[in-house]
Amino acid sequence: MTMDPNLDSPRTAVSNPPIQPMKANLGVGDVVRASAMPDLPKPERQLTPVAKLIDVSKCIGCKACQSACAEWNDTVPEIEHNVGMFENPHDLTPDMFTLMRFSEFENPETGNFEWLIRKDGCMHCEDPGCLKACPAPGAIVQYSNGIVDFIHENCIGCGYCITGCPFNIPRVSKTDHKSYKCTLCSDRVAVGQGPACAKACPTQAIVFGAKEDMIEHANMRVADLKSRGYENAGIYDPEGVGGTHVFYVLHHADQPELYSGLPANPQISPVVRGWKGVTKTIGLAIIGAAAVGSILHGLFARANRVSAEEEREAEHLVDRSLPPRDERV
């Protein structure tokens, strides 16, 4: 199956790329939001919202997705020491945009031991906290298909994106001082190919397509899991961040924290909203008013001047205390 070149985004990751030449999308005209650029022009068109669905119940923990990710993005994650766990590397790094996280869970209801494996990485929030926090114009952009991307040439390496992200995803490189995370393979999607991880996944636990189609597919998976006894199976597409363009099917959707601390109700922290909202706008207004006010007052109000009388008073005071001048000199 080859992708129809007339579509604006790939509908699957397993198909081969189109063989006809096609124009890359996800350019400047497709940006709906950009960091520190409040007056962005409206995008030229609306692309079909895309999504990557990660079905945790189908994952076998092979890490093919990690390998494919490093391969496509040409990163070389540092070799670390084995500390007796499967996670490798031990955390997301500036060179590892996705990570299989393994947690061992003894289900108190069934007495079964469950190995819960979750592919961690950027969730591509509809309301991205990184983008809200970023101070550098155009360093973080959101395309109309939902992909949130870091534009590294504009990144200044301040780490505010880490402060803003509800999922603890971005990592700042110690080498080039720029922030990195999953791009949802925007450079592949732009030319009709699905993300590298989804393409590499041997069990199709990772699938990619239009968000609408992915939700439909996820619903089928949830119904299937329920029929197999996973009563609490469900979709993790958190409302608190407006939904995400990477979302999960979980067998324990009622307890997302089981999956290596996946937050139950992620949202942009009110502290971050306070910092980037009232503090920023009101703070600057007050500073501006104080600066302008004092300049105007300085120009038009009467200054506090010392009079000649006061200079004489000072001389009297000093003369009274000191011996006569000619003796001192």
């Binding site: 101070p135 910092w275 703070g283 006061e310 008073e313 000093v318």
Partner: protein, 228 residues
């Protein structure tokens, strides 16, 4: 010789006709200007990352990346230069009974009716307020600043703590800029003040008008002469 109550060691009557009074030594002035310059660099680089409309200020420092690494280092410079100022000045900035009267007559202060105010030592309550506000805010800013210093302390605090540090850092920054504006404004509005930090001296009349207890103490000490 009598213990100084209203003046700093080094403060003295420099000339008699006309009277000029030495207020700050060369070292103190140089250090003050290091603090001032640091604060201005911090203010410009900090504001650049504070509001998108001011991001262009990063151009003054050679771009966003440079601004990002420069800001915290200048913060450390300011912290230490201000620490020296603090150690020199804190004693004369302790509150005194006349400060209460001065504050309750703030209207006369603004109108310049200084004859209605009590006689003051080296600093008035407003100057003391600036001093203590700067001291507290600088400690808050350096503390919260280190917590958000991605380049060297990425894992010093948890992300939720880092969010608070970020908010507190920006609120404290707004506050210190207001204090800074107040400080500069007061120094310019009160004519004859700036030379205390440039030449190091003020006129006798200035000392008589604004800090008479300070002047009296210095004159008294001169009269008795140095121990020979």
């Amino acid at each position: 010789m009598e213990k100084r109550q209203y003046s700093q060691s080094g403060d003295h009557i420099e000339t008699r006709a006309p009277v000029t009074v030495s207020r700050y030594r060369g070292f103190t002035r140089a250090n003050h200007w290091i603090t001032a310059l640091s604060l201005i660099v911090l203010l410009l680089s900090g504001l650049a990352l504070f509001h998108p409309s001011l991001y262009f200020l990063t151009g003054l420092f050679g771009g966003g990346q440079t601004t990002r690494w420069l800001h915290p280092f200048v913060g450390i410079l300011l912290f230490f230069s201000f620490l020296v100022l603090f150690l020199q000045l804190w004693r004369l900035n302790l509150p005194r009974p006349e400060d209460r009267t001065w504050v309750s007559h703030i209207g006369d202060v603004v109108k310049g009716h200084e004859e209605r105010l009590p006689e003051l030592g080296k600093y008035n309550a407003g100057q003391k307020g600036v001093f203590w506000a700067m001291s507290v805010l600088i400690v808050v800013l350096i503390g919260s600043g280190v917590m958000i210093w991605e380049q060297f302390f990425p894992d010093l605090v948890t992300i939720p703590v880092r969010r608070w540090a970020m908010l507190i850092h920006s609120l404290a920054a707004v506050a210190i800029i207001l204090v800074f504006i107040m400080h500069v404004y007061a120094a310019i509005w009160t004519r004859g003040t700036l030379r205390a930090m440039t030449r190091g001296t003020v006129t006798g009349g200035w000392a008589w008008r604004h800090h008479r207890k300070w002047l009296r103490e210095l004159a008294g000490r001169e009269g008795r002469g140095p121990a020979e």
